[in-house]
Symmetry: C2
Subunit: 685 residues, 2 copies
């Protein structure tokens, strides 16, 4: 231990750097940084192993700021520690195109592990990082090669503690006995509405005990550096439980408003800034001051970290000599590349193959592909038998002591915790050695909307296996039948939404999802059987849209996805027989991928001169971008046998034909019908 005046100076420097950043930006949150500076200093200067010159070192300790609004703290630490973050970057806090945005974004700033701010998410990311660490240790460590043994540290405040998503993850983390996870709860009794007494009076420590966590309490988080370090060491020593440290701090410590809501989300007043600086022996007129001895202290710790990495790289080198396959595998995983030839394991179908539910097609695929892609780690939110997400001989990821799996297991039982599942997947993906997928009903991906949004924003590769994707789920009824869900996630930037129509489209969906390193995917899959289509191939479908049924001089293009494509193909016959109309059929399993094709290609699929009708048994919203008319369901579904429900809402060859005829009639009078692919200008994407 042995903390000196330099440490005290360092703590105050962190407090003031953070307060200065907020003051200079005239926006932001000084309170939590000033309160949490002591524990942050202990972590970043004593406890944590990291090399600021290589922020991607695999075995670095992970740090997550779940209370992301306190990011002035994190930026200050990254600066002191020697990461690529200058005083000028601190001065640019919260200004346009800076690497110091209002909340930390992993893809913007070196040293930020995960994108946080939306409360509760970071804590769950931390659980994901810890799962990934436990799993990777089990996979790669060998006798004498303790290659992967890092800790994951999470800061969180009252806000994160109140969010249900964090409760879900805390319960799962306790169950999983994640010994290398240490969460530090900033118990400052203040949230935006003032004293937490107004809404949050539960016994947090007791709650975490109930989840199976080890807990510690530090009473004087404002000064007691020794106590903080001792608590962390005790937590490190507990290897069969995650740990929570409840740290009593004073929000905005040092300010005249310390301990009140007044310092939570607004800059300190100028006089107050000067008051604190004077009190702590800093020049009251200067901003962004770092005493040289503080830099020295941090650079010494950074150099130690660099040396540790050096040692580790040598260990890895030696490991590679004894365990060549494992070392090669590890390096490949870290690059994000899939094993060569993996795509040969993708199932391929021909039209004569029997009709199969796409959730089942997904299961068949996972049964094959998982062998070729060892980093694939699956799971489900308690719907394994319905989502069909578990391959036959999968081993569960479980603490070995439970006797129902082990750390090397590749199937995670998330429990009924969709939101945490999504946020945990973000952590799994961020760790670097895992490619996560997980299942639930499409309708309940919405429970995880907050996490899916951050997958998209932070550009991580996670895959949702979203089964029971429409009124086709039948009897469970409108509470479970998605209507708005596809529109929602299609509108979310950098999120691929797939709705495959058959076997080859399912393989294509997985192909693109697995190879898109910086984009999450949602694959919507049917409960009911779907026929294999005539013109469907993986090569066609990976373009996001293609003609399933082509026809010369067609009167209309029917455009559809998933289970409705086959019905459109049947409608072609009906239209010819009953109305002497010729129809072509286009499948667009993924808007986002289709949009990325050259305009020429898109126009060949949705050409000028022909009216088009979209057919999808959910909200029509968004289909106007591709078609002239839309047949969908802008109301809730119904409980009943799925065929009855389809019939009720007229998603039948006859019902489609009725609307196709209306479409042809309506557009008859328009000369030179323009395809909606033609637009006046390009979108901002």
């Amino acid at each position: 231990m042995g903390y000196t005046d330099v440490d005290k100076l360092a703590v105050n420097t962190i407090r003031l750097l953070s307060a200065d950043a907020v003051f200079h930006a005239n926006a932001g949150h000084p309170g939590a940084p000033m309160g949490m500076a002591p524990v942050a200093h202990v972590l970043f200067n004593k406890t944590m192993n990291y090399n600021p010159k290589n922020p991607k070192w695999l075995n670095r300790d992970r740090f997550v700021l779940s209370n992301g609004h306190a990011c002035a703290l994190q930026y200050s630490l990254l600066h002191l520690a020697g990461y690529k973050l200058s005083i000028d970057d601190l001065k640019a806090f919260r200004s346009l195109d800076s690497i110091t945005p209002g909340h930390p974004e992993a893809h913007d700033t070196e040293g930020i592990e995960v994108t946080t701010g939306p409360l509760g998410q970071g804590f769950c990311n931390g659980v994901g990082l810890a799962i990934a660490q436990h799993h990777s240790s089990a996979k790669f460590n060998k006798p004498g090669f303790d290659l992967i043994n890092n800790y994951t540290y999470v800061f969180l405040g009252d806000g994160c503690m109140m969010e249900g998503v964090a409760s879900e993850a805390a319960s799962l983390a306790g169950h999983l006995q994640l010994g290398n996870l240490i969460a530090i709860y900033d118990d400052n009794h203040i949230s935006i509405d003032g004293d937490t007494n107004c809404a949050f009076t539960e016994d947090v420590v007791l709650r975490f005990k109930a989840y199976g966590w080890h807990t510690e309490i530090v009473d004087d988080g404002d000064h007691d550096l020794e106590g903080i370090e001792a608590a962390i060491k005790k937590c490190q020593a507990v290897t069969d439980k995650p740990s929570l440290i409840k740290l009593r701090t004073t929000i905005g410590y040092g300010s005249q408003l310390q301990g009140t809501g007044g310092v939570h989300g607004a800059p300190l007043k100028e006089a107050d800034m000067k008051q604190v600086k004077t009190k702590w022996g800093f020049d009251p007129e200067k901003l962004f001051v770092v005493p040289q001895e503080v830099y020295d202290l941090y650079h010494k710790h950074g150099a130690e970290g660099a040396a540790k990495e050096q040692e580790w790289e040598q260990l890895l080198e030696k490991y590679g000599q004894s365990y060549k396959t494992e070392a090669t595998d590890l390096k490949r995983r870290l690059a994000g590349d899939l094993p060569e030839g993996w795509e040969k394991t993708l199932p391929v179908y021909s039209p004569s193959d029997s009709a199969v539910a796409s959730r089942k097609l997904s299961e068949i695929l996972l049964n094959k592909v998982h062998e070729a892609i060892p980093e694939l780690v699956g799971g489900s939110a308690d719907l394994t038998g319905s989502n069909l997400t578990r391959w036959k001989d999968a081993v569960d990821f479980q603490p070995p002591s439970l006797g129902i799996g082990d750390w090397s297991g590749r199937y995670i039982r998330y429990g009924v915790r969709e939101h945490a599942m999504g946020a945990i997947m973000n952590g799994l993906a961020a760790y670097g050695t895992i490619l996560p997928y997980a299942g639930t009903f499409l309708n309940f991906v919405s429970y995880a909307a907050g996490a899916v949004r951050l997958s998209s924003l932070s550009q991580v590769r996670v895959i949702w296996v979203a089964t029971h994707d429409s009124i086709g789920l039948g009897e469970d009824g409108p509470t479970h039948q998605p209507i708005e869900t596809l529109a929602h996630f299609r509108a979310l930037p950098n999120c691929m939404v797939w709705r495959p129509a058959d076997g080859n489209e399912t393989s294509a969906a997985y192909y693109v999802a697995l190879t898109s390193k910086h984009t999450p995917s949602i694959i919507a899959l049917s409960r009911q059987n779907l026929p294999q289509l005539e013109n469907s191939t993986i090569a066609h479908a990976i373009k996001g849209g293609y003609a399933v049924h082509e026809a010369e001089k067609a009167d209309i293009t029917l455009v559809s996805t998933g289970s409705e494509v086959g019905i459109c193909v049947d409608a072609v016959k009906y239209l010819k027989e009953h109305h002497n109309l010729t129809a072509r059929v286009v499948s667009i399993p993924c808007f986002e991928v289709f949009d990325a094709q050259p305009k020429e290609y898109r126009l060949s699929i949705l050409p000028d001169g022909i009216p088009s009708l979209s057919v999808e048994a959910m909200s029509t919203m968004g289909w106007e971008r591709y078609t002239h008319e839309q047949f969908g369901l802008n109301r809730f579904g119904a409980s009943g046998a799925y065929k009855d429900v389809y019939k009720k809402f007229e998603f039948t060859p006859e019902g489609i034909s009725k609307r196709a005829v209306a479409t042809v009639d309506f557009w008859k009078s328009v000369p030179n019908i323009r395809s909606p692919i033609n637009r006046a200008f390009q979108q901002l994407i």
Copy 2:
């Protein structure tokens, strides 16, 4: 107490009715009904006060089946108890257009309080019902008139227990000391993935103690009717805490597969059905059998309930003599009508009034309207000072013992618990005496997507005050700036999404939201100031769309919402000066309301013959329904001062004009431009 063989027979009848319903439907969940039949019998035959002939009696005890998949149980009970649910309805379980859908839907079936099935929601609805009861008691009860004192009972299983939304509500309920709430946890150790040991090993009772709940444990929930009743009585006696009863049951009790996942979500096999019936002395060949003595038992309890209501109605009558105002108010609330003349309190603005942020306009409105509408009960998820949801002299809804509010308070401090807030509002609205609204950032309404969906499906009037509605929030950056959010909720059926552009539009949004008895609303409000528009009036805006700026022989229609409408008005000048183009401007603050106007009106606003361009600083998805071209943001935003962010993405008069020119050019060659209002056929809504 005194349970007899008839009670045992009744319990088995409930078990078999439920199993028969599932067997006959060949789909559904027999396990939980067979396990929970004993406690259900105690509740419905001993404990609960209700009148099956008047399911809307205000002071009835509320029952919520949070594990809604077990609804065969609830339907069986409603039948036995004498509600409007026949044996034929049980036979129609899960079939199209029945009143016995796959999950219970409040607007379909008498005696169902709230729509459940999506896990965790019902529990939170129960918390809402209990808050409503506490609040209404404080408002209406008088010495000698204990008018409102009902209990709320909630059943929940492991699934609900694992969902974060329920954790949020449990924490809040503990804080609020909701003494009349009793939750009964079906601890059957089984979820869909099998033994809960695979994902859920926390100590639930300890967790609830940590939340501040009273807890009871009943070890033999399969048989111990006395023990169950005694536990409920103990819970009733605890008036300053909500109560949880952990009830150990055997899932699928009686079946050969009892105690296993095999009975969770699939019908019993025929032989198994016969086996159970034979074992319990029922005719193995018959389905849907109710022994007369069981009917008699239930009808006796129903008659007692009817008598209690009779007594209560007399009490209300007497109450009306002493407290005329209160009685009139209560009856009016129950009818869902607002007080006469309330709309006169809506603020009205003229163009010369200063620019004001719409979140502030909302605050001004709430400060006036709350006096006229006493049933309005507000709140916020810990963002009161940002959402501006609290009127000046509001009293917080708090247990009086905390000294920071009281039961009659009309402002709820929800804490950082958006999802629970949404689900609790559904319960508040379902109680009958409260019109709830609550605030958070628009981006975090997504955390509550599961609850908002159920507001829409179950047709309840709740209002989201969703501030910080775009990149206009500035520095907080992309983690907080909505892009997909409006598209998401616009695609959700029966959900009104408003984005008012100024003061009168804000008043219009509230007017429609407050008077729509069967539709929830989301009102998206700006952080930044917005000018008062020329042609904006409440009368115009309540049509959902109208011309803000009209022009003869216009070259283009600019169509916009919220903060971008004012920029479009500025663009009109720019277009004239720089491009000699004449533009008109249309505001569509609410798609759903505009869609409901006569076609003639809609065509007058978006006429044929003119190209149109939508302008909204978020996803363009859905705008193709109204306009020919779309200017939006199909990417994530950026952290920076809001004016810089608007400039970066070109939401300026210049940037709009650039795209308007492109639109005019692009559509020049098209004769007789057709308004997108014209469609080939009507949508299913």
